[in-house]
């Protein structure tokens, strides 16, 4: 049986659709990532699944429980860590932990095992007020509090947003251990590079799931030849690239520019050489172009554009 199963779930606030009808399943013990920018609908989907919002249409089951009808039992079995820091800032680390253990009828002692790694890091700050912790420590404490009752399914809304790189890595390592302990994890993040930490990811934008894939298979969704172009004056280069007839998409990407050629199946090396030649013809010298593997961001951009165009064609 799936740990989370979603069927046609949809939600809008007034006339603004926040989540278009969505269906997917998450297997027990899977780490499922929701990846998308702010406002994509990640939080709405999570809140629907932890029974904080009522769906307009469709249904969802978490650990076999209906999110509307069985919400009371569901709330015992899931752990939820909201995107905003939601602990009591005026309570100490220990008091927060004790409080969340008590309201779930659990005790810190009996569930220490699950959160031991995290708790060892927090222990030196036991008496410090939660509000005075660093961002990373706050998130670790919040995770501890969400785990203290041994939930079967854990929902984490952007746990790594706003914390330092080291804490981010530590947090993901912790999530890996939870997976090993058999807990199903639904994690949302705006950071594309965190996709590789998940078993499967759903790319989400504008309330719509664009694709659900294993991170390793995402690159295969990118069928057009992709080149990284570097050097030269950036703005002029962008303009020149966009004016080329073979351009499918042109995006600045870090220090380089990602250029997608619309000729499917052509040899990327040959296309790179042709591109450099074409740019030299426009007076742009000393440039380099290399064929590259598509990353998750490339896939995301391409899917988002495709979906938007499909939507417009549909409506138009």
């Amino acid at each position: 049986m799936a740990s989370i199963s979603v069927e046609g779930l949809a939600k809008s606030f007034g006339r603004v659709p926040a989540l278009l009808p969505t269906s997917f399943e998450v297997a027990p013990g899977e780490v499922f990532g929701l990846i998308g920018p702010d406002g994509a609908g990640k939080t709405t989907l999570m809140r629907l699944l932890v029974s904080l919002l009522l769906p307009d249409a469709g249904s969802a089951r978490v650990d076999g429980l209906d999110v509307v009808k069985d919400f009371r039992e569901l709330r015992r079995r899931v752990g939820y860590m909201p995107g905003r820091f939601s602990l009591y800032q005026d309570l100490s680390v220990r008091e927060n932990l004790d409080f969340f253990a008590t309201i779930f009828g659990a005790s810190v002692a009996e569930n220490r095992g699950l959160v031991d790694d995290l708790y060892l890091q927090l222990e030196p700050f036991e008496k410090r007020r939660a509000g005075a912790l660093s961002g990373g420590m706050k998130q670790k404490l919040a995770l501890c509090c969400a785990l203290i009752h041994r939930p079967r399914v854990l929902f984490l809304d952007e746990p790594t947003t706003g914390i330092d790189a080291v804490s981010r890595r530590e947090l993901w390592e912790m999530l890996g251990r939870l997976r090993a302990a058999g807990i199903t994890l639904l994690v949302s993040t705006p950071y594309m590079d965190e996709a590789s930490r998940c078993d499967r990811v759903a790319l989400i934008e504008g309330g719509r799931i664009l694709a659900i894939e294993r991170p390793g298979d995402l690159a295969a969704r990118y069928r057009y030849p992709l080149l990284a172009v570097e050097g030269g004056p950036r703005i002029a280069l962008l303009e020149a690239l966009r004016s080329l007839p073979q351009a499918r998409s042109v995006y600045p990407f870090g220090s380089t520019i990602h250029f997608t050629d619309q000729r499917l199946g052509a040899d990327p090396a040959a296309l790179a050489a042709e591109l450099v030649g074409a740019l030299e013809g426009r007076g742009l010298e000393g440039l380099g172009a290399q064929p590259i593997e598509a990353g998750i961001e490339d896939v995301f951009m391409a899917l988002a554009v495709d979906t938007r165009q499909a939507g417009e064609a549909h409506h138009g």
Binding site: R75, P82, S86, Q89, F99, I103
Partner: protein, 371 residues
């Protein structure tokens, strides 16, 4: 049950760490008691009085010193003509002018009748009326004494004022304000504080986590209410203690009944606060809602400051839904008249009914989700 106590314990942690709230909780009752007790009194105390003594004999001098001796007045000056007296009044050097006519003693000696003219500064009509009444009282009393001493008992001034205020013989305003302050403080502390503490959880996002837990709405509500019930109870004791020992207000009736009724009113105010918080999304909205929706009616429509009977009909009817109105009747009844539950059961029943209604409405209105 353990869950519930864990929740209550957390509330006490919050309270203990929030200095500002503690100051509001205990500072406001103290401040209001002292303010109403010392500063905002209605009765006359040490009012400067000038005597215009056109008669100038032992009798009028005796009356003047009677005024001086009373706690209400101090003798600012004794003058020999009316214009001088009026000047004192205009310059506010005297608030009351007591004029004894030239033939005052003669008249009194002859037929036991005396004409005293009392003038006062009418720019403050409320206290002017009180001052005149007090001055008149002092003079009448003294004249009666004189009449008795001279054996003219039968001829004693028949104009002697026979009015006596029942339940508050000296018309002490302290007696009147204690019940009012109790209602006000309990409304403020109970209703305002609870409404703020629940909306705070919404604002900080912790409500989101509380909702995704086995806690039930009534556990959250009651858990929030219990600490404030304790604190408000402490406030009742402080107010009653202050009024009894600092201001000497007697409690004529049963103290335990008074305390029990106060607890009922506290629960009523607390449930009102909870109701406000189920509607308000931010602490600011909760504060505004409690202040305008609860504080002002408690002050203005409860009979604390303005007499209910002289209100326009609409406001008078409106006052019936103000819990403080019923509480005031109860407190005044027990403290000043010494009546018991036999007389006060209708008001008690109304308060209990209101409380039940507010609690049910709060539990119904409590969102078990974010929308």
């Amino acid at each position: 049950m353990r869950t519930f106590f864990g929740f209550v314990r957390k509330e006490f942690f919050h309270l203990g760490r929030d200095r500002r709230t503690l100051v509001v909780l205990f500072g406001i009752p103290l401040m209001q008691m002292l303010l109403f007790g010392f500063a905002l009194r209605n009765e006359v105390k040490d009012t400067p009085v000038a005597v215009v003594d056109l008669s100038g004999d032992p009798l009028t001098r005796r009356l003047a010193s009677a005024l001086e001796a009373s706690e209400s007045f101090r003798l600012a000056a004794t003058v020999r003509n009316l214009d001088e007296g009026k000047k004192l009044l205009a310059e506010s050097k005297a608030k009351v002018l007591v004029v004894f006519a030239e033939d005052f003693s003669e008249h009194f000696g002859r037929d036991g009748r005396a004409e005293v003219e009392i003038l006062t500064d009418g720019s403050d009509p409320n206290s002017a009326r009180t001052r005149v009444a007090y001055a008149n009282g002092v003079v009448q009393q003294e004249l009666a004494a004189v009449a008795r001493e001279s054996g003219k008992g039968a001829g004693a001034p028949h104009i002697e004022a026979a009015t006596r205020m029942r339940f508050n013989p000296s018309l002490e305003s302290t007696y009147l304000f204690v019940p009012g302050v109790m209602a006000l403080v309990l409304t403020l502390v109970s209703a305002l504080m609870t409404s703020v503490t629940i909306t705070r959880e919404k604002e900080l996002g912790t409500m989101e986590v509380l909702l995704v837990s086995p806690l039930r709405p009534f556990q959250i509500i009651v858990g929030k209410v219990v600490p404030y019930l304790g604190l408000s109870f402490l406030n009742v004791l402080i107010i009653l203690g202050l009024s009894r020992f600092a201001f000497g207000v007697p409690i004529v009736g049963n103290v335990f009944l008074l305390i029990a009724e106060s607890v009922l009113y506290i629960v009523c105010a607390l449930s009102l606060g909870v109701l406000v918080s189920t509607r308000a999304e931010t602490q600011q909205a909760a504060t505004t809602g409690s202040l305008s929706g609860l504080m002002f009616p408690t002050m203005l429509l409860s009979g604390f400051i303005f007499p209910l009977e002289s209100m326009p009909r609409v406001l008078y009817w409106l006052s019936h839904i103000v819990p403080a109105r019923w509480f005031l009747v109860i407190v005044r009844g027990i403290m000043l008249k010494g009546v018991g539950i036999a007389e006060l059961w209708p008001q008690t029943l109304i308060l209990a009914a209101m409380t039940t209604f507010f609690l049910l409405a709060s539990v119904r209105n409590f969102h078990i989700r974010l929308e």
